[in-house]
Subunit: 443 residues, 2 copies
């Protein structure tokens, strides 16, 4: 009964929708191998987002450029009985040899702007569709949620406690990369933090308190083992728990406690009361960490009311981006054999041809608007955003290096957003995204 929990490298090419393979077989039979461009974009922002942070697209481009149908994958496909042997032989030698243009990791992005474009023979570009969408959606959705928590916290640390609420293993591990890009200060997730270079944070659970004979004994044991730790004070009653910490530190002045964590109840009353108790006891350096089903709206309200909280731990709402858990990405053919292509389905039309996005800044460095143009247009104004991450099947190391500076780029972008984009409430997208004259005419 035991299916593996892991997906091996040589199975990854099978993580696709069946029609990608049947269409590819059709292209192969029809000998259709002209160059195509597919564009990855979304048609509208979720109501609860004023921008998205494009994340995952450079990493996906790098990984997809190495995609192979290994022996095991070919054997499984053969078993389905849906594919010609000659096609499977061709698939075993399939290589991606095209270009992939992407936004740099962590770029704020708006409706109809490509996050990624693939230029390749159609049977190469088509086969990337399902996996690139799966990979990019996850990191984009999670980073776009996380950056709102960072903005709400106004410089106070926000720490990821979301592993248990995230959708499975891959979400939990790659999610930490998205959180790092978005500006989180740390994570409780050991594998995620180690792999993606975000500091590990941890406190204690209620079970530890309950396994001891008293809260005092639990605090004493844990603080002895872990200097500067955080003690969880709400197992029985929050302010009683704070008093237990104070009494413990008076009993054993050599113990050092870094913070207390409040995980339930009315934080707007409990945090000030806890702060007063600690300050009155001469423990002004013991910080207060809050972690009770928080989202960006709760953090914003607490800080607007000057509630004395020094750091926030967030899990449930951020881990699955519950208010906007999906972004309706499309991966659409926009050019084939040198000719722009569009579909006309109601509400699902798209912009023809290869593209570039230009971002315009005012004198103070704030974003003031974007222009979507043809890839080969040269606009007099604005900074082109899309970069060629993969050229002729090979990742470009210099361009890929942009992924390493994603966190710094997002920190910079947070300072450059117009005020309307920094609001946490739903609202019409005020940010202007225009089409170049040439693109508007082509449409």
């Amino acid at each position: 009964m035991s299916a593996p929990l892991t997906v091996e490298e040589d199975e990854l090419a099978l993580l696709t929708d069946l029609y990608q393979l049947t269409m590819t077989q059709a292209y192969w039979r029809e000998e259709m191998n002209a160059r195509a461009t597919f564009s990855l974009f979304f048609r509208r922002l979720p109501a609860e987002r004023r921008f998205m942070l494009a994340c995952g697209q450079q990493h996906a481009a790098e990984r997809l450029s190495r995609l192979r149908f290994g022996e095991r994958a070919i054997a499984w496909l053969a078993e389905t009985g849906r594919f010609d042997t000659a096609f499977l032989d061709w698939l075993a030698n399939w290589r991606f040899e095209g270009d992939i243009w992407t936004l740099p990791e962590g770029t704020p992005v708006f409706a109809n702007e490509p996050l990624l474009e693939v230029d390749a023979p159609i049977a190469q570009a088509q086969l990337l569709e399902s996996l690139v969408m799966n990979l990019v959606q996850l990191e984009t959705v999670l980073a776009s949620k996380a950056v709102r928590l960072v903005m709400a916290a106004r410089g106070r640390p926000v720490v990821d406690f979301g592993l248990r609420r995230m959708h499975g293993i891959d979400a939990a591990v790659r999610g930490v990369r998205a959180y790092r890009t978005a500006g989180l200060a740390g994570t409780s997730n050991v594998l995620g933090g180690l792999r993606h270079d975000l500091p590990l944070n941890g406190t204690m659970a209620h079970s530890y308190i309950l396994a001891h004979d008293s809260e005092r004994e639990a605090f004493r044991a844990f603080a002895r083992h872990m200097p500067d730790t955080t003690l969880l004070v709400d197992t029985h009653d929050t302010l009683t728990g704070v008093r237990e910490v104070i009494d413990l530190l008076h009993e054993e002045p050599d113990l050092r406690v870094g913070a207390v964590r409040l995980d339930s109840g009315r934080l707007e009353e409990l945090a000030p009361a806890a702060r007063r108790l600690l300050d009155d006891a001469g423990l002004g350096d013991v910080k207060i960490i809050a972690s009770s089903g928080l989202d960006e709206h709760a953090i914003d309200a607490l800080l607007k009311a000057d509630v004395p909280i020094d750091a926030f731990g967030v899990g449930t709402q951020m881990g699955a981006s519950t208010d906007a858990p999906v972004i309706d990405l499309s991966y659409k053919l926009v050019e084939y054999a040198g000719r722009p292509r569009v579909k006309h389905s109601p509400g699902k039309a798209n912009l023809p041809g290869r593209k570039q996005v230009y971002r315009h800044f005012d004198a103070a460095g704030y974003f003031v608007g974007d222009t979507i143009a043809g890839r080969d247009e040269r606009l007099a104004d604005g900074t082109p955003l899309l970069v060629r991450s993969v050229a002729q099947g090979q990742p470009d190391p210099e361009v890929m290096a942009l992924a390493d500076s994603a966190r710094e780029r997002v920190a910079q972008a947070r300072q450059s957003l117009p005020e309307s984009l920094t609001r946490l409430t739903p609202g019409d997208e005020a940010y202007p995204v225009a089409l170049s004259k040439a693109l508007a005419a082509r449409r």
Copy 2:
């Protein structure tokens, strides 16, 4: 820059919250090794759910019984500088030797009922927390959404098209197992379907149409390659597309087309119009498949209006369970060293002690209510639900076999739900869940 996309078996033990490891080190130092029971449950149903399908807990129990801290994991932990060498030596030899009680895969479950209970020395039971929650949440959330689509479709096939909207690789692959349990008829997801034994389905994408010189040529080429295929008719105009199919089949009577797929527009008008066109052309056996941002409410409304749709493809809403993307699972210490334990945090209290859940049926076989009791109570009435999936660290093959019949069990349960639980609208949980007298008294 290239982090792996996969999580290796020997890294899995690191997919945990840091505090599990620091608390375990504390237990180890304190020589606290008495037996503990942890209970996995949720305190309330999401507003949009009348029951949850407990899924993933038997698979998680089996996998967690084999968890090890391999060399790589120990080396990474050593690098953090947070752990004693002697503790890491102990961790390298850590084995789970306890019992894990679970609901069988696919059991309808309600608030406060354990999906899983772990009985083990505290340092073994504590270490499972984060991963068991991550694993069980995903499958439970996805199956609980998917079964609503199955119920709405009243016996018509529902097919998973969600790979691109699911949260990463693991969600996409294990999600198919949850969908299989919930009763979906097929999936477009090749790896998920192959690994978890759900039939593969696939149609065609708009890109295929657009890459050809005309819709007719695209239909012709695809239908020649794939007898009985499904043709996507809405790239330009749905009813024009249907007429193209009809004309093609009149031109080439030897071609066989299984269905047309409608992916946009007003299905309540387009599907009847398409049906009439096909029927009038003598193509009554060509089916209509709909796939346009559908959820259970849309499917229910279409079928209540007798709109002639034969099968549904669903992706976005089901893939991330957008209306209820998380379930607030708790994994709580309920007993330690033979004594029941509870915490009292406001809104977060729990039931003390090891438990069993009894389900009561009426004469016609419908569920009429549950009783949560102590594990060792023997109630005169009702069927006990929790089974011992892992005994003394070893999965019990007979009990684990229940996982293989999960799909059949859910199909049966769908026929046994009281009418209030079959409604798709939000509503107060009408299903009665009582506490046994002994448990009520203990609390």
